[in-house]
C-alpha cells in the first residue's frame, strides 16, 4: 500500500527529522509542542473561538513594543515627558512603536472583554472549567491595573490628573483605602516615587503576573479542551463518550466519526460505542 519514496526524498526527510528526533529524545519538546498545538477540537467551533488567541497576540504585541519603549523611556519627572516626545518625534519609527503600544493597550482590553463575553454566552465557564473562568477574571483585573499604571507614564496633564483621581478613588476604600493610596503614591503626594513605582509595576511586576496567569490559563485550556458551541450536537448530549482512557479530555471533544444515529432520532450512547 505504502508508496515507496524516492531515495532523494528519504534523504530530505532524514535531514529534517534528525535534529528534531535528537531534540525529542533529549527533551520531549517536539511531542509537547504537538500535544499543545494539534489538539482535537469540537466539530462545530467557529471564529468566536479565536478571540482567546487574539487576546494573547495583543498581549504579546504589548510585551514586545513595551520592551522596545523601555529602552528609550526615562522614568523621572523631569525627563519622562521629554523622553516620550523624543520617542514620538525624533526616533526612527518611534511613533509607530509607541502608537502600537498605546492603541494596542485598548485593543488588549477590548479583546479581553469580547473573549469573556464569548466564554459567558457559550456557557464555557461551567463544569469543569470554573477555575479557568476565575483565572480569567483575575487576568482581567491585572490587565486593567496594567492599563492604570501605564497611563501615568507619558507624564502629561491628562496622565497626572487621571492618576490623581484614580489613586484617590482607591484611597476611598473603607479601612484599607488610606494605606492603598499611600502605597500607590509612595507617600502623601504624587511625586518622584509615584512615577518610579508605577514604571516598575507596569514593566516588571504586573507583566510577570500576567505571563504566569496566562500560563495557567493555557494549561487548563489544553487539559480540559475547547467547549463545543451551545447549538452543536456535542453540547446537546449526542456523541458523548464517558469512559475513554482520558475521559475529561476526550469526553469534551467529539472523537468519533459522524453518521451514526440520525438527527431525527437522537441516540444517547452510554459507555462508549
Amino acid at each position: 500500500m505504502a508508496r515507496t519514496k524516492s531515495k532523494r526524498r528519504q534523504q530530505l526527510e532524514q535531514m529534517v527529522m534528525m535534529p528534531l528526533d535528537w531534540l525529542e529524545e533529549r527533551s520531549g519538546l517536539v511531542g509537547a509542542t504537538k500535544y499543545f498545538l494539534f489538539r482535537k477540537v469540537p466539530a462545530e467551533t467557529n471564529w468566536f473561538h479565536t478571540l482567546g488567541s487574539a487576546t494573547l497576540t495583543a498581549f504579546l504585541v504589548q510585551a514586545v513594543t513595551g520592551v522596545i519603549l523601555a529602552m528609550y523611556y526615562k522614568p523621572s519627572p523631569e525627563e519622562a515627558y521629554a523622553s516620550i516626545q523624543h520617542i514620538t518625534n525624533d526616533l526612527t519609527l518611534g511613533w509607530l512603536v509607541r502608537g502600537m503600544h498605546r492603541w494596542g493597550a485598548s485593543v488588549f482590553i477590548i479583546l479581553l472583554f469580547l473573549h469573556m463575553g464569548r466564554v459567558f454566552l457559550f456557557g464555557a465557564y461551567k463544569y469543569p472549567r470554573e477555575l479557568n473562568w476565575l483565572i480569567g477574571a483575575i487576568l482581567l483585573v491585572t490587565a486593567l491595573f496594567e492599563g492604570l499604571t501605564g497611563y501615568l507614564l507619558p507624564w502629561d496633564q491628562t496622565a497626572y490628573w487621571a492618576t490623581v483621581v484614580a489613586i484617590n478613588i482607591n484611597a476611598n476604600a473603607p479601612i484599607l483605602g488610606p494605606f492603598i493610596g499611600d502605597f500607590l503614591r509612595g507617600g502623601a503626594e504624587i511625586g518622584n516615587e509615584t512615577l518610579a513605582r508605577f514604571y516598575s509595576l507596569h514593566m516588571l511586576v504586573i507583566p510577570g503576573g500576567l505571563f504566569a496567569l496566562i500560563g495557567l490559563h493555557l494549561y487548563l485550556v489544553i487539559r480540559l479542551g475547547v467547549t463545543a458551541p451551545p447549538w452543536s450536537r456535542a453540547a446537546a448530549g449526542y456523541d458523548f463518550v464517558e469512559n475513554g482512557s482520558r475521559p475529561m479530555r476526550e469526553g469534551l471533544v467529539d472523537p468519533r466519526p459522524r453518521g451514526h444515529g440520525s438527527m431525527g432520532t437522537p441516540v444517547r450512547t452510554e459507555g462508549g460505542s
Binding site: 490623581v164 483621581v165 502623601a188 516615587e193
Partner: protein, 311 residues
C-alpha cells in the same frame, strides 16, 4: 569475584577499613557554624561580637576535631557481635520513631523558611514602609504681608517641597487676609485640592495680573482675584462657597486649609489640615481641624468610621 583481585595498598589497611566509615553523631558542627555566623555578623555590627564569635568557633572547632579523631587516637576494641538479623516482624514491631529522613526534611524546610524570611522581610519592608514615613510637609514662605490686601483672595502658586522638581511639587493655595482679630492677624488659607478626588479647583472671580516674587522657598506666583464667590472643580463639578464649604457636586467635605505663621513680616504656610464644615465667615469662622486626609474621605458624620486609621 572482583574482591579476589589484589589492589595496591589494600593489604596495609586495617581490618574493616573497606566498610563505609560513619563518624559518630555530634552536635559540635552546629555550634561551630553558629560561632562563624556570629563572627560574620560581628564584622558588620561590632568587633566585640566578632571576637565572641571567633572564640566560640575556635572552642567548638577544637571539640569537633577531638570528637572526629577519637577513633584514630584510641582505636576501639572489636565491635560487638552484630545483632541477630531481624525478621520482618521485628521491623514492623519497632519502626524507627524519628528517622533521619524526616529530620533532614524538616530541617531543610525550616532552614529554607528562615533564609527566605531573612531575604524577603527586609525587601518587603523597603518596598512598603517608605510610603508611610516622613510625610511631614515643608513650611513655605509666601513673601511679605503687603502682597495680601484685606478681604481679597490671592492665588499663591508655590513649590511645596525643596527637593521636589516643579513638575511634581507645584501647589496652589487661596489666601485671604481677614484683617486683625484680638490684635492677631487672621488669614483664610484654602488648599486648591478638591475634596472629591483631588483635582485642582479654581476661584470664581475676576483674576488680576500675576506677580512673580522670590522668597526663601523659591519662586512664588501671586494673582489677586476680585469678588470671589466660591471655588469650582473642573473634573466632576464640585462647587464650594468662598469659605470652602461644599455647596454642590460630589465632594464629601470642605476644602482643606493651611495653618500659617508670620515670620520676619512674611506669611509662611505651615501644616495643612482637613475641615468638615466651616461655621461663620472670615475671621469669625469656627473651624474644627482634623489631621489631613486624602480627598474623598469623610472627617465627620457617621462615614468617618470607614477610615479608622489614617497613616
Amino acid at each position: 569475584m572482583a574482591d579476589d583481585i589484589e589492589r595496591p595498598g589494600e593489604g596495609t589497611e586495617p581490618e574493616g577499613a573497606a566498610e563505609p566509615h560513619l563518624p559518630g553523631p555530634t552536635i559540635w558542627p552546629f555550634a561551630f557554624a553558629a560561632g562563624i555566623a556570629l563572627l560574620l555578623v560581628g564584622l558588620i555590627i561590632n568587633w566585640m561580637l566578632a571576637a565572641i564569635g571567633a572564640v566560640i568557633a575556635l572552642v567548638f572547632a577544637f571539640l569537633w576535631i577531638r570528637e572526629a579523631t577519637r577513633e584514630v587516637r584510641h582505636p576501639v576494641a572489636a565491635p560487638p557481635p552484630p545483632p541477630e538479623p531481624m525478621t520482618e516482624e521485628d521491623v514492623e514491631e519497632e519502626p524507627e520513631r524519628y528517622p533521619r529522613s524526616v529530620f533532614l526534611e524538616l530541617s531543610t524546610l525550616g532552614i529554607g523558611a528562615a533564609i527566605g524570611g531573612l531575604v524577603t522581610v527586609p525587601a518587603l519592608g523597603f518596598m512598603i514602609a517608605p510610603a508611610f514615613v516622613g510625610q511631614e510637609t515643608d513650611e513655605v514662605d509666601l513673601g511679605p504681608l503687603a502682597n495680601f490686601p484685606e478681604q481679597q483672595y490671592v492665588v499663591a502658586q508655590f513649590n511645596s517641597a525643596k527637593d521636589e522638581p516643579p513638575e511634581v511639587g507645584r501647589r496652589a493655595a487661596f489666601v485671604r487676609n481677614n484683617g486683625v482679630k484680638n490684635e492677631m492677624p487672621s488669614f483664610t488659607i484654602i488648599s486648591n485640592r478638591c475634596a472629591h478626588v483631588g483635582c485642582p479647583t479654581q476661584p470664581q472671580g475676576l483674576p488680576g495680573k500675576a506677580k512673580q516674587i522670590k522668597t526663601t522657598s523659591g519662586q512664588v506666583t501671586l494673582t489677586e482675584v476680585a469678588s470671589v464667590s466660591g471655588f469650582q472643580c473642573p473634573c466632576h463639578g464640585g462647587a464650594y462657597d468662598a469659605e470652602g464649604n461644599r455647596v454642590a457636586g460630589p465632594p464629601v467635605r470642605a476644602l482643606d486649609r493651611y495653618e500659617f505663621l508670620i515670620r520676619n513680616g512674611n506669611l509662611v504656610l505651615a501644616k495643612p489640615y482637613s475641615v468638615g464644615e466651616v461655621v461663620g465667615t472670615g475671621k469669625n469662622a469656627k473651624i474644627k481641624a482634623y489631621k489631613q486626609q486624602d480627598p474623598g474621605q469623610h472627617v465627620d458624620g457617621p462615614e468617618q468610621y470607614f477610615y479608622p486609621i489614617i497613616p
